[in-house]
């Protein structure tokens, strides 16, 4: 015989019995152990750079600077900080604008592109999506140029609105809108492409059936396509919400470039950074981090367990 049969090892059988609780044919014996081996490196990374910092942040937020338990005092102090509420208000305003723009404009654009000929829509999608490559610091820089009336290709628009200098454009009350525009500029294209992909996943027969049932383009978009990609819209909104609360680079760089026009504690993350490194109070900073983590966690939990978007089996 080509494969010499291995003599049965005593005890092998009882091991098989214990290890054999699989429904999917994952086989006998070494399977469980090997599972641990395969995930081991990732688990180490998860423990060191996911769980440990989270635990550490929680620990810090509950202790005093010199040591000793602080209970909620770091939180109350952070919440009572005169910069705390404005920072969260800024982010809330920014999120409101950005999320509404996502839920409306991105969907409308994706649906429009989906009704075009494949070639044409591919060209538009490419143009919309490329600015995504300029995420982060680069996009802030680009928009510093775009918003400076003396340079901007949009200067006619800015002058209609009555802004002759960048200081007038970057008024504090404008910032949430401006950051939302930046986010839309870099992020919308990617999401349009993704939503388009989701629309493409709708079987042709379904849309053909709708056509035969008498639906016109609008009705089929509204009553067939939209309900079918609804969960992806929720996915997009929650991811954007969780990410949006973490705003840092945009206000940081705009502040840098405008010599103090923007407060360096404009967003919660900036405030945490400031308290940590300038005030040298990592415990109070940790309280803000934990608050942000909780917000992210709520978003993540909603997404995972409510929308059933992800598969855990």
């Amino acid at each position: 015989m080509t494969v010499p049969p291995v003599a049965a090892i005593p005890g092998e059988r009882s091991r098989a019995r214990r290890g054999g609780r699989s429904e999917d044919g994952a086989p006998i014996g070494s399977s469980r152990l090997s599972g641990y081996v395969f995930v081991s490196l990732y688990v180490v990374l998860l423990a060191l750079f996911g769980i440990a910092p989270t635990a550490y942040a929680i620990y810090l937020s509950l202790t005093k600077v010199g040591g000793g338990i602080a209970w909620g005092s770091n939180f109350t102090r952070a919440f009572q900080d005169f910069r705390f509420l404005p920072a969260f208000e800024h982010v809330a305003e920014y999120l409101a604008i950005w999320l509404i723009a996502e839920a409306t404009l991105i969907l409308v654009l994706a649906l429009m592109l989906h009704s075009l000929a494949r070639r044409t829509s591919a060209a538009f999608r490419f143009l919309f999506y490329m600015p995504g490559a300029l995420a982060g610091a680069a996009s802030v820089l680009v928009w510093l140029f775009m918003l400076d009336p003396t340079l901007s290709p949009w200067h006619f628009l800015l002058s209609i609105l009555g802004y002759a200098q960048i200081d007038l454009v970057l008024q504090p009350s404008h910032l949430p809108l401006i950051f939302a525009i930046m986010a839309f500029w870099t992020g919308a294209g990617g999401w349009i492409v993704v939503m388009y992909g989701a629309l493409n996943n709708i079987p042709d027969e379904l849309l053909e059936a709708a056509k035969l049932d008498g639906a016109n383009a609008f009705q089929s978009a509204l009553r067939i396509k939209l309900p079918l990609i609804k969960k992806w819209v929720v996915y997009m909104l929650i991811l954007s919400f969780a990410g949006g609360t973490q705003l840092f680079v945009e206000p940081q760089l705009v502040g840098q470039a405008t010599a103090g026009l923007v407060s360096n504690t404009w967003s919660p993350n900036q405030l945490a950074y400031y308290i940590a490194f300038i005030n040298d109070n990592f415990n109070e900073a940790a309280a803000i981090s934990v608050t942000l983590l909780v917000l992210g966690l709520v978003g993540a939990t909603l997404l995972v367990w409510r929308t059933k978007l992800f598969e855990i089996n």
Binding site: M112, A137, V249, I312
Partner: protein
């Protein structure tokens, strides 16, 4: 009826062209800006083309800034990103395989934690990570950036979806019948088939790492170790137009065309990846719906 259909088409086209302008005019402006002088930026029309010599001048000025600082930043970005991506992939492929195709106690819990950490933005963890790195004296070293980068739960999830949806269980059974042990099944069957998902994970990890600003901003103190994203900030603070009458430490000053060029250079690697990766993006973001 026909007329209104026609009207709608026109409206639609105008809307699309409007958004095209919104998305692409800035890109064109930045491209053109690199061919002009700082004065021309304000004096000539925003869509006027400058000259090649101005571009060359901007190039020399940018790369000459503080004795090749820009080259160093790009190198740093490359090291941090490639390091992070490499470790992330080495960890994610077997982990995704283990989660999808083996059974062990805690598998579902690990998957749930992976999902949650993948959706929660990592930014809020940067400060505690800084303290963690500080306690082992790794701050201001490449490891302080690379190691947190290498924890990439989204990549693990993508591998998990890939393995559970594209590799039939019977294929693994066949390998076992053909004489493989568990390692052999992974080595000879799963790993060679994982090539598409490697590209997928590499794309998402690379873009995320290259564009990351906050983590290196906190971890790295030395100018020479900054990645290019943070380097851009340094350039802004040295740009004359943004700091009128405040030359700071008497450092070399940067003109705006050079800054525009810096933007393009800084994002070039991501832009190249983006050009070819539209489909990858869709596939990755829609992963999870594969089996519904």
């Amino acid at each position: 009826m026909k007329l209104s259909h026609f009207t709608w088409r026109i409206v639609g086209l105008i809307v699309l062209l409007g958004f095209t302008a919104f998305f692409f005019v800035p890109v064109i402006w930045v491209l053109l800006a690199t061919t002009k002088t700082d004065v021309q930026l304000t004096s000539s029309g925003p869509f006027s083309l400058g000259t090649l010599s101005h571009f060359v001048h901007a190039w020399k000025a940018l790369f000459g800034f503080q004795s090749d600082a820009m080259v160093g930043w790009l190198e740093n970005s490359a090291i941090y990103s490639f390091g992070g991506v490499a470790i992330a992939i080495i960890a994610a492929i077997p982990a995704g395989y283990g989660l999808a195709l083996t059974q062990f106690i805690g598998r579902r819990t690990l998957l749930a934690i992976t999902l949650v950490t993948m959706i929660m933005p990592a930014t809020a963890l940067v400060l505690p990570l800084f303290l963690e790195m500080n306690s082992v004296n790794l701050t201001d070293t490449p490891w302080a950036v690379i190691l947190p980068f290498s924890f990439f739960p989204f990549g693990v999830y993508l591998c998990y979806i890939f393995f559970s949806s594209t590799i039939p269980k019977d294929l693994l059974s066949a390998a076992r019948v053909d004489g493989c042990n568990e390692w052999g099944v992974f080595r000879y069957v799963a790993l060679p088939l994982a090539r598409p998902v490697v590209a997928l994970v590499a794309f998402f990890a690379f873009v995320a790492d290259w564009n990351n600003y906050y983590l290196p901003f906190v971890m790295i103190a030395s100018n020479s170790k900054l990645p290019v994203q943070v380097g851009l900030e340094y350039l802004i603070s040295s740009t004359e137009a943004f700091n009128p009458g405040n030359p700071g430490t008497g450092a070399q000053l940067v003109q705006r065309p050079e800054l525009a060029l810096a933007i393009l250079v800084a994002i070039a690697p991501v832009a190249i990846v983006f050009m070819f990766a539209q489909r990858t993006l869709v596939k990755g973001m829609l992963a999870g719906a594969t089996k519904e």
